[in-house]
Symmetry: D2
Subunit: 337 residues, 4 copies
């Protein structure tokens, strides 16, 4: 039994963390904080939690008592906040799983370029482990600071990983046409996510300029062992949850679909949360699960890959808990089925 | 050909006014204002208007040149703003159609009770005409200041008017269970209308306390010629547009459905925008129209009435233009079919 | 550990039964049947189940081997089918939880009137226990045949039960304006539930003629110990899941809201799945849960009650499993949290 | 003033044709037919039409009196039906605008390959004019048989046409990731378009195998004057209306975005229904309009083009009426603004 705290409990990732953790047999939530004007029961903020957790949510201010006896702290806060508070928690001996982007990029200059500010804890970047269990499981085990992957990167990296051995793919051919539910934009009201603006309409946004692009490229580059650049175009879909990444790429030579599928099945053979589907997946198929469903079609040298996740689960909160399970030696799927 | 201006062009009612008016053969829009940081083409704010209207939108400040040569000004502004600016425009000889609630209640004390502030132009309340053409057509004809009805009141009053002759209905039995699309809450982002909050869920709100209640009661009282109180419960439905008011009431004595239907058909005989349907209407049936569709079922003394409108059209903008047509002697449906 | 079978596994209630049961520690699913052209893995029908259950689904034909070693059979079939097959399963010593309407009405004449056919197993009607645990827990314990309540009845009866002591409510004043997600209409495609017909629109249907009316009246009558008739008007809401019943009634005398709330809290004091909320509930608050959330407002003699459930969970499948837990002596919430 | 008939008035394209034509000053609808069990007022089938058109809809059977005095017949019927009935109407001297795919492909073998049946009127294929006014305006003027373009092809061809001059684009690099609202699948209920299946989920379908692929390739090939093959992947989006085609391609050499935009503006200079937008378009921006909105971003040799239309308007019915206007010498936008 470990004790955990959540900073950012009033956002959607925070809410999902709570919903998963209250059913987790090895965890006790001891402290919640978020954006609140005064101390407020979390079940007043999220009435769906009534009767399921009796805990107050505090407005976040850092001091030595913050997060109290917690062994592990989930940071479900906006970018730029984590890099400020993570070092302080680490210095108190807490472990950290950071759901923001602050520790995902290895290169502080890249961070500055894409997030617009100087990185305040650049020295931690080399310590942080990128929390994608299917790729970094052994490093996660001993980590103190997990950079939990972004939602788009999770779907794209898992969708591509089995193909990225040298010499197989035209690395400059990768196009990702991604589609997300609106919850990915968070819980702070904006015209961008106003009901009547987004309902019954689809549009592209941050075209070729989404901040998840360097994160995806960094990880694909490591897997391919050579520089990978992608064309990444996200879209807002009129639904609450789910990401579908439709990935297009060209192989160096014609390969039978069956052989490619075999590569995927081998690569993910032991993975409990990757499913190779034999029909095009619906984002709904993975709703409220930690699954990533993958489907592909090959035609001569062209491949189209479909990778779907729940953006708030495998794309954020349930993956964070999968990481926690690994860090603390619990069975990896505990609380996630 | 008349010249019109719109104050509040950046909201949803403003946008719909523009969309209807650009097809109106007797109207030229000469001036637009709204909440903008700097002068901005209206087609930048609403890209759907590109190529359909070339006009800039100004941030609203009142001076003698405001609205320029306009004969008529539509005020599509929040409550409390209209009562401030309407008198100034009137004193410049402009006609006004006010889409806010400021001139709908005859009693300034009632206004204060429900809207929380003192009415600043109380003397205009007796001059303002309630712009429901089916009831007040002749008064609208000569009016200078129209109080355009609220969306819920339009659907409820039209749904009930034919029954309110004395002695027919148990006046204290009226219950209105109303359902609205989210656009009714306007275009300013709030947690209340955030996509992920409202999507895939229905809830009641402002239960027995919605500010449209006194407006409905005032008008029903006039029609019934005795005091009417109602039970009014609105709900937020996960859709953009449309209002369905389901109205329950008890008759003083059993009446055949057929006879009641006859009363409705007689009452609305010459009305171009009221349709008595013979099946339960969908809110979608009246989308982008000025129609109010009504359907009813009677069983002994109990009647259930369904009244649907497009909240942004008959419940706001197209009704405002219907009023304009009457005021200026145009054929009543001009631009509305 | 018990063994269960599901007849009707290819519908939405069947799917939800499977999703709940595969996480239930005391249950093994041994047999699935439904509408299939040939034996098909259930995970082909519902790809979301891939990797979570490996079981084939058979086309339903009754013989002595059907359902094999199951101790309990869930019938998630259309009305009129259950009354045909339930007796056969019972004669094989199986226990039955029937999610159809076939055993809910005590009076076979009422069944004929509302469902249009003669009841084939009328003698079983007195044996069947109405599976609403909050009211019939002790009878459920020893039952062999559970008539699992309808979705609307569950929300309405639970919303009203605490008030129905004699002399408190004007029993002829009850109006239920109910709103349901589309999944309530099942998985068989019809124009009525076609995406483009239902999307972005709300409408009433089966007005004063919905087949759940006599079920609700029967149970309210038992609770009140005198004849209760209600006005019941259901509506289709553009969402997948959830029911909100807005219930209007008149008290015999003015009562303080606080006192009425007290009655609710007392009545449901020990109930793990009833939550008295202090704000108007969203249907989303109970999604994928066995909760029924209740909220009310009183004003003089008028009361408005909001009762929300997930129509496929507390309104069907999770309630069926709650009944199973009671029948077999498992802790009542097992598998439901 | 011309007289028109519609075959297939009970589908969504038929409904939209009616809604546009009843406002068209030069047209009288004289006859409607569709799938009906008996002669039925069209306003019973579509209650939204009540009071707007009083015409019966007949079940379709061909004889010499069919379509009566109509000068022009719209065929809004499933594929395979048009090729059967179009020749008969032509031989009666009627003009035809066919909204099905039957006359879009020039090569009957290609038709057989993609639509699975022998073409019955192959000799008409050379007579039929592909009804995309922006490309074939002069041929449309004199045509008797118009093959109205498919919804996807309209968005893709218009999105690409300005670039297809020889030597500019890598013709084998074109990838189209298309997204459609559900109404594109028609009005016949199927599990595929069942509300609860499609709501809140996105998925790819007919991947690399959609029947619009050869139509797009045929037209791009004509424009480019050399063989063009594309990668075409359509997706179903949880909304009723609208298509967004996101088109990826590689240029032969780096070109400034500004120069490419200039090519688009020149190409569509005089076109009333093409708008080059300066921000990523929402499908909602063109709802209920005949507009195609185009936006693009270029980065070195990579271009991403966004092309949005209303699938039932510019993608079907309003484009059919645009074609009618051209054929009969009416101002091209009559009835479409």
């Amino acid at each position: 039994m470990i004790k955990v705290a959540i900073v950012g409990a009033t956002g959607y990732s925070g809410r999902e963390l709570i919903k998963i953790l209250i059913r987790h047999p090895e965890v006790e939530i001891v402290w919640l904080s978020g954006k609140v004007e005064k101390v407020t029961p979390i079940s007043t903020i999220f009435p769906e939690l009534k009767g399921r957790i009796e805990l107050d949510c505090y407005d976040f201010v850092f001091d030595n008592k913050t997060a109290g006896s917690a062994d592990l702290i989930f940071l479900a806060v906006p970018h730029r906040v984590s890099m400020d508070i993570a070092p302080r928690f680490l210095s108190l001996g807490k472990k950290i799983i950071d759901l923001s982007a602050d520790f995902r990029l290895n290169d502080p200059l890249l961070y500055k370029k894409w997030y617009g500010v100087e990185h305040k804890s650049a020295r931690l970047l080399s310590e942080a482990v990128y929390g994608l269990p299917e790729i970094y499981r052994s490093q996660i085990r001993g980590a103190s600071l997990i950079a939990n992957p972004g939602c788009y990167p999770t779907s794209v990296i898992l969708g591509l990983a089995p193909l990225l051995n040298p010499g197989f793919v035209e690395l400059n051919s990768i196009i990702v046409d991604a589609k997300t539910g609106i919850s990915g934009a968070g819980r702070v009201p904006q015209i961008f996510t106003h009901y009547s603006e987004r309902n019954e309409s689809i549009k592209g946004y941050k075209i070729l300029s989404h901040q998840h692009t360097p994160e995806i490229e960094q990880e694909l580059t490591k897997l391919a062992k050579r520089r990978v650049s992608i064309t990444f175009v996200p879209h807002l879909v009129p639904m609450d949850r789910g990401i579908l990444s439709t990935i297009y790429l060209t192989l160096k030579r014609c390969t039978r679909e069956k052989d490619i599928l075999e590569m995927y099945k081998d690569f993910y053979d032991k993975e409990p949360f990757i499913r190779i589907q034999d029909q095009a997946p619906d984002t709904k198929d993975v709703l409220n699960t930690n699954f990533c469903d993958i489907f592909l079609i090959a035609k001569k040298r062209q491949i189209v890959i479909f990778s779907v996740i729940d953006n708030l689960w495998k794309g954020a909160s349930s993956q964070a808990i999968q990481n926690m399970n690994i860090m603390f030696g619990f069975e990896e799927g505990t609380g996630l089925r």
